[in-house]
Amino acid sequence: MYDHLETADHPENLKRVVIDPVTRVEGHGKVTLLLDDDNHVRQARLHIVEFRGFERFIQGRPYWELPVLVQRLCGICPVSHHLAAAKAIDQVVGVDRLTPAAEKLRRLMHFGQFLQSHALHFFHLATPDLLFGFDSPAGRRNIFEVLKEYPDVGLEGVRMRKYGQEVIRLISGKRIHGSAAIPGGMNKALTVEERDFLLQDIDTVLGWCRNALALIRRIYLANREHHERFGLIRSNFMGLIRDDGAFEIYHGGLRAKDASGRTIFDKLDYRGYTGILREEVRSWSYMKFPYLEALGKDNGWYRVGPLARINNCDFMPTPLAEAARQDFLAQGAGGPVHGSLAYHWARMIETLHCAESIRDLLHDPELLGTDLVVHGERRPEGVGVIEAPRGTLFHHYQVDENDLVTRANLIVSTTHNNQAMNESIRQVAAEYLDGQTITEGLLNHIEVAIRAYDPCLSCATHALGKMPLVVELMDAGGGMLDRLQKRADGTVSR
């Protein structure tokens, strides 16, 4: 692949281009490119420059606080952390199976979270590139221009997000910081009135999801060769799977497939993940590099998230999404689909599946059940795994006799994709930037490759007063050859 571009020989003799921060992704990441005198790319790296300290944040806390507390790790996907922690704490309180009503409420909440998270990424972060072009003027690549030129598309995206948020609010009782999931079950039942409120709009939401899917399909196929090649890497894939091989995002076993679609392992109990995964530390990034132990660190890296889930499953358990999956896989000529931009298409198939699943659950009488909590015997340890919008999310806790967490290990979705994102930007750098005069539009190609994964590079700090984007081209002696600055109003100047 492109691993020869991870570390250059004699970097001190090369020019350095820095993209800092990477835009339209969550959190703070930085890309560095090293170029020789002829502008040939010799090294490309995505660095995560903020130490997150999740585990330190969790250790020493009473275990029952965690489902609420961990929502503060990420303002974009608090529900994912909430549910992963709740599943781990279920284990701690000795509960292996929830009541039907409790499990269905958690699933409904999870589908609502997927819907809003995927809608945000697609409409707010991805469509500016996809609709206007990767090297269109920077001032054009934003949500405002989408709302101006494609008002119906933009409005549907906003309303899809709102609907997903309403699902979460009605189940947890609050927009944020909800205490929906508790050890062994759920905090409150859904009322008939709340159910009916959500039912009012679900068919409309389904229509929006179909429109979004049709849009990404049309965009992708309109320039098929380019979209297939852009950021193209071949990888293994990993994710949860239901016992019967169906697409599954709340609870199942782990399945991994190799680049040609052969199964590496299947339906593994995720509580044994430490026997499957290893994480490598590299000096230039705060984010670890996981790999499948059986394949080793050179060949064992993998991808998670929408593309992995769609490639991995045998079928989607809802009819519209299944038809869309089959149509999508036809692009792969019998094997997995590997193009990085195919993530966008896969994401919209998942969004449609979530809307179908919300509709089905709202019509399920068990959803309104009031038997919500199960009790069991305390255990010293719990592992919870779910599929978050960005991919597989692990929460693992050890708890002492005083009910305090003594050890926490979290592997967030983006960490799994760390090597893949690096491979993708190297492919793009080699394919599009090599030997070229660097422009803002070309650098945006690098960011487009990263955005396809919808990474969450750090979680949910946000305050006013951040720095604008500055790209600098330095010579080997540290002198500045070129400089681009993107201001807060979106304008770019040299």
Partner: protein, 171 residues
């Protein structure tokens, strides 16, 4: 629907990023003895595009957020819709949210203001800094006086912070 929406945002577990949510909680406590039906409170981690839908039908909106480099203790300013780069994260600025409102509704957003409270540290698990706590108290006193005006006419001529400057300053 309440005429005045007060929207405090930030992450309560990231040090001074908690200023927005803490402001909201403290103000609600202070107003508890004489509840105001015309005031609604909204809290979130960060601004998102769909929050534009929460602005519809309001007479005025007050956004409250931590700020890394405004002059301490706080800055109060009138907002205008702005197509900013929104270059950092999924989050959008309050000015950008007003622009989203404008494009979604094909009309002007309600008069909107930003109360930026100076923060110092934002690490996950950090406690609120002493400086931020002091700035928060100043901002609360300012806001109480602000919303006690029943007409709202003084919002555009209020002293912003202790330096007694009027009007709004550019971010």
């Amino acid at each position: 629907m309440a005429g005045l929406l007060i929207f405090g945002y930030g992450n309560p577990s990231r040090g001074d990023d908690a200023l927005g949510p803490l402001f909201l909680e403290a103000l609600q406590e202070r107003l508890a003895s004489s509840p105001r039906a015309d005031v609604e409170f909204l809290q979130d981690f960060q601004l998102q595009i769909e929050h534009a839908l929460d602005l519809a039908g309001r007479e005025r909106v007050l956004f409250v957020d931590a700020h890394l480099d405004c002059p301490p203790p706080f800055r109060f300013e009138r907002l205008v819709p702005l197509r900013d780069g929104s270059y950092t994260t999924h989050a959008v600025s309050p000015q950008a949210l007003l622009e989203v409102y404008r494009r979604l509704n094909r009309g002007e957003p309600p008069p909107s203001y930003l109360l930026s409270i100076r923060g110092e540290r934002f690490g996950l698990g950090d406690a609120l800094s002493r400086e931020a706590e002091s700035n928060l108290q100043s901002a609360l006193r300012f806001a109480e006086a602000l919303i006690s005006e029943t007409t709202g006419t003084g919002w555009d001529s209020r002293p912003s912070g202790p330096d007694q400057k009027y009007g709004f300053s550019l971010a």
